[in-house]
Symmetry: D3
Subunit: 307 residues, 6 copies
């Protein structure tokens, strides 16, 4: 069960109203790397987890992320505090309000008109949060790696936001939130490696013929070697022929019943294209006379022996 | 530039038509852990990457994932080959067709009616693929970790699909695809650790007061210790008071101009709730007479001294 | 700040594994009327609210909804507990597993394959949760009404779920959750009516010519009168002429600059349709000879004087 | 059946081209509180409704909302009329066009480039309309409350848009649309209360132990009392212990078969974390030498007796 | 199988960094008419196609579209090259960076903060790409028409983008991409008409009573005739009566079992509205005293005989 | 302005309750090829259209599609009529209800539990309708082609639904709806070709070097020729070298300022990968001892001269 205490986990001191900045902050409220995504990610994993240690850790961190969601949402609310009443009380002339709301160089008009200045579960561009942001799949060797990566991404987005504001109070709170992502990443790393073995993920082993192969599928100037495709670590395969149909003829087949075969033949016949035709088309109907004439000429020319 | 060769990277030999199984396979065609997501993930990273080695590797693997998308999509097409013509040629009685299409115990009716049996960019439940599945953010220390995690997840989903079919040809091809995820994960790991340092991600250091703190936010029976919150590795903080407002009073504030303050006051006054009122409400209007009477009685009782 | 206690708000005692039922329960976990939507709805309102009473109430209820999210998610996890390991440990033959996962008559295959049996933030049909479910707009006279309605809807969905299971433990927990929606609705009703006036919502009054008009726009057999369009309460307007262009000529106009006018003329000319033409079309090109002949005949017939 | 008359329900007289304002107007065309959402909401309810009075009213209002959709869409088209041809006829230098399209301080570039200036089914930030905005669930005691709330929200958004423009014609038409939301709200209110009883919604009664309980789940400075949690109306429960596991031990359980139990044990063993380990992790591999040394030192210090 | 060559299909020479323009370009990278949509469209059709000629053509064009995706994505990456490092290296003061990122008059802040300047699979307004953009349904007479239309739309969007930039290198590459859409349209046209007959699409013929009818459903000033509704081509039906219930009484009915009938009656009774009531409502509870008095007066007046 | 008449455009006579069939019908109610998409498509085009003939036609057809939406929605409502009250009145035992709702072999449980049996704006798999289904872009040469294609697709989906039911009344109504798609397609075709020229779409001509080129990008066994790539119609280009970098060196470049260059260098240096390293990775940390040993051996073997 959750309980709430009205004191924030970290104090929020905003220097001045700034709806444009508020909007940027939404990135970590309702954006893909934001705190709602983080909280949902760990909370849903915790509910399904059976290992007592991981379950406890996941719920600890999920709860902290909810507390961070509160901090970042409070920053948004504070930054919008001044402008919120402006629109609802219609304190200024309409033209002035319009200029204010359209002049932040970002999508803050959405936040103001649609959400009344409250923190919205969208990213900074107004894209609605959706659960596709959460990649939990219920296997700890995969989910812990997903969590490590998610913390790394969130850390970077906080870093970018810090670089974008000189409001000391906002920077201070963002600094705390960013730091906690570093701490969480370390915690998930410890949890991953305290489960042994954790690679390859899951239970089924790979097919040893292909586990250590590197296919050099992008070729040309710019081909590089490194530890990720070195001969020490991988079997480096290059050249089209060696990479395709690595196991047989590279054809696709399915065994059909005779009923299925005859139905398929019927469908094929009904929808067959005629390679020998040269049909008039809608495009030609739609050309101007001039263009059609040109095209005709061009086609004649192409047929002429001298070409 | 891409080129295509008509031979598949891996041969597909399907044992029999099976639209229900085809639908499950969509999980790795148009699902969140599927091959389109993988290809888009690495391809978009490759375009923005400036490190020559990583750029080459990302494009190599993106191209391979496109080739895998072709393999899994071909499996879907083969499994649907028999039933596809059944619906379009209306070969059976309607009642029989209805039974067929509704009887696979999953959402294969969508694939048949809407997509005509072709491979659709949805997951196995019909959810449309969306770019929220892709978590690239343009920083290699984060993106490589995301890629490692993505490969781990894809490996698990293939493992689950393998466990669900006894069609030998399908199992064989799925085995190849699963194995390649293992190989890719290793390649991304090598690339991550050949960039040093890569932790913490990005450039800004964390605030050392909070980098190694573990907040024990979920309490009660079930609290566990482990390397992820051990005293060796972390400063373990427990108890509500120690966790909240770690830096000050935990209050939120914003400096408003006097104009903003007076507008806010106007708004507050206009929308104030009256804590001393006991208003009649819509719910009470909507109760049956009997229920309203009961409620009245209950309220009287609560007021009575004996309670 | 949030804290978590490992004891649930309500005890969950599930009678037996049942992944099909687990899937139905997702409706209130990650569905539009579910607990995540409820928690997010009240939490985001609380952050932006300035009235101390409403702010406190919204946070109280948001926190309780998070605790309900935990209860319903735990029900899902318990119902899937048995089947979860079946797939990951591949305990049965593949054919048997396939039958199990495809045989629940609903989308539980998604939950098993994609989410490994964990509670997913989707509805019971696999649709990803999205923030479009949340309709907070930052005005208390609107938001409280939205909350009242949301509680009513959630109550109904719980009622339907209760009607669908005979697992006594699940019914018991669902009954608690359903009841709390009733309690919350009453609380929001009290809060709405303790703010006076709260109708019409917002600050601007309506245009008195149209505030009490009822337009009878759907006509024919089945037209009914009632308090919602009675003469006592509303000015009942019927008949096409009286309902259209209630204020003028019903035309649309915009004052354009002369530059804009000439550009628009150029665009119009370039894309004009010729009403006097009878062009050959792609449809005609695509008809079979027989059909084209029929069509020709038909057209002749239509032109004939006798028609 | 629907019919259309070319005269608008309300005359639209736009003062001048203004694509930035056009974009704001999209909020009520393709936004969550807009007219398409309203029309779809009432229309789908009408189709399923069996009560003759409500069915008629829902269709009346749905039809009017379609007529409003036409009015607001026409406003958008008029505001874009001048700029639409500018882009398609490429009347100005490219640099000038770029400045024009990028200078409205909102997302009007999307409307221009992607939709050619036509009214798009997106909100003012470009978010695609989706049916998650519609919360009809097929129970009149819930749906009518949802409709009342929806009208309240739409009224507020119109009020905000009116406050943002000084184009007299646009304000006039918006005023009409806003007023009709007030009228509709009153109609739905009458319909709700003419169905008795309508509270609690649905058929199942609540559990009387919890129907009138208020859980004070958010605590600390700022706790308030009011009619929504007064002792007259509710049983006020506060303090963690009283709120959790209100019915038993707050534990979750499921009765598993012995097969399920042994499979679960196998899974647990395979994925167990080792609480006694202190594994090397990827984060440590990724640290710079300096940071790793510091960390080591710190850990030693923590172990020292003086701490 | 796909292979990749590091040389682009068309050379990209960008004149200068321009993140605002980069954002506009996303329209054809991750927008609905963009290259990812095109590639996915033809690729999924190719996989399911059985006609050898069409299958080959679809794969040829799909592969080219992937190569175009690389070209447009590279343009985005080049345009962002300069600004990308600015944010990650925090080279300027925060205030300056904020001005830069908020000053492009479009949503480029999303691209910078969230995606680090890399090409994102969103449109120019930040809307995530989703597979609903792809309308393949697995019937060639429909899919080829969809492809023709898709190429026409993509051509127009490229034309608009060309009109918006004076960067010669960007214009040059966009010109190539635009031209290829024209070429592809012609190819799909040829393929459509080489399948005969292709109209009406599919196998079932239409009902001849309604195949050539034109219903004039929008009436009033502005009614026009043209080849699309001329008497030569269509049977023109006008007037409400002639258009509704063209086949019977226009009623809806379903044969119910007697059990179903009695249940329906129970439901109807429980939720009946009372047309004769005039209930007090929530709206009235919420009015100010003044407004309620006015309303009362108004109602009395309406009842007075003189009205 | 719209008006509604209670008689349907086509009579609906449903033979018996059938919630499973109801769900399939949703494909044309709230699916991508359904009537809401059609109505929205033509309605939004009509609002922005300036050509009087097309504007009238678009509004005629939009209005008819709304009337079709009513017909198909009514079919859904009738098919669900019997089962709707079953759930809300809880007429049967829970186990029986559960069997009923889970036994239709498709997603009808969503419709019943979430939407109470009303027609929902989802496709037959429960995917929420979204405006990404609508591809109007405000250019008639493109939009009319899109409309032609949309009608073709809708015709096919109706054909498939007809093939799936033997309820005579449902088949009859579906037959009418299918036929009207044929009629509309013909109307849009006439409108397209009455605008001359209409190809290429828009105003800018293509680059004549590439307008008639066919790139043979998918090679290998299965390469076919036909009118879509014949020498008569197109310049057929094959072979990798001839297809890539058709205009120059195929490189990408951007002119950067010197500041940008030095920042980029800083970023590159900070995130450089070291191709000469062979770092220990997380994957290796995560392997079992046995696997790590094997890997080591394998690597030694690869280094041995005999290989």
């Amino acid at each position: 069960m959750f309980a709430h205490n009205k004191r924030l986990q970290y104090t929020v001191r905003v220097g001045a109203s700034n709806p444009g900045l508020a909007n940027l902050m939404l990135e970590q409220f309702g954006g893909p790397q934001g705190e709602l995504a983080a909280a949902c990610r760990y909370f849903t994993q915790a509910l399904a987890e059976d290992d007592p240690g991981r379950k406890d850790m996941l719920m600890d961190i999920a709860t902290e992320e909810l507390s961070h969601l509160e901090v970042i949402g409070t920053i948004v609310a504070m930054l919008n505090k001044g402008s919120k009443s402006r629109l609802s009380e219609a304190a200024e002339s309409e033209a002035e309000l319009y200029r204010t709301i359209s002049g932040h160089g970002n999508s803050s008009h959405v936040t103001q008109v649609l959400y009344g200045g409250g923190p919205a579960l969208t990213n900074s561009g107004g894209q609605l949060w959706n659960a596709g942001y959460i990649d939990s799949i219920g296997d700890p060797s995969a989910d812990l790696r997903s969590n490590i990566a998610a913390e790394a991404r969130a850390k970077i987005v906080y870093e970018r936001l810090i670089n974008l504001t000189d409001d000391a109070g906002v920077r201070d709170a963002l600094g705390f939130l960013m730091t906690r992502e570093i701490a969480h990443q370390q915690q998930f790393e410890k949890a991953l490696y305290s489960m042994t073995p954790n690679f390859p993920p899951g239970k089924l082993p790979g097919d040893s013929r292909f586990t250590n192969v590197y296919f050099n599928m992008s070729q040309g100037e710019g081909d590089k070697r490194g530890p990720w495709n070195s001969d020490e670590n991988f079997q480096f395969v290059t050249g089209g022929a060696a990479q395709q149909s690595v196991d047989g003829d590279g054809e696709a087949s399915v065994a059909l019943t005779s009923d299925e075969q005859s139905l398929l033949a019927r469908l094929a016949e009904r929808t067959a294209s005629d390679p020998a035709s040269d049909p008039m088309t809608g495009a030609e109907l739609g050309m101007s006379g001039e263009m059609a004439a040109e095209k005709e000429a061009e086609s004649l020319e192409r047929d002429s022996p001298a070409r």
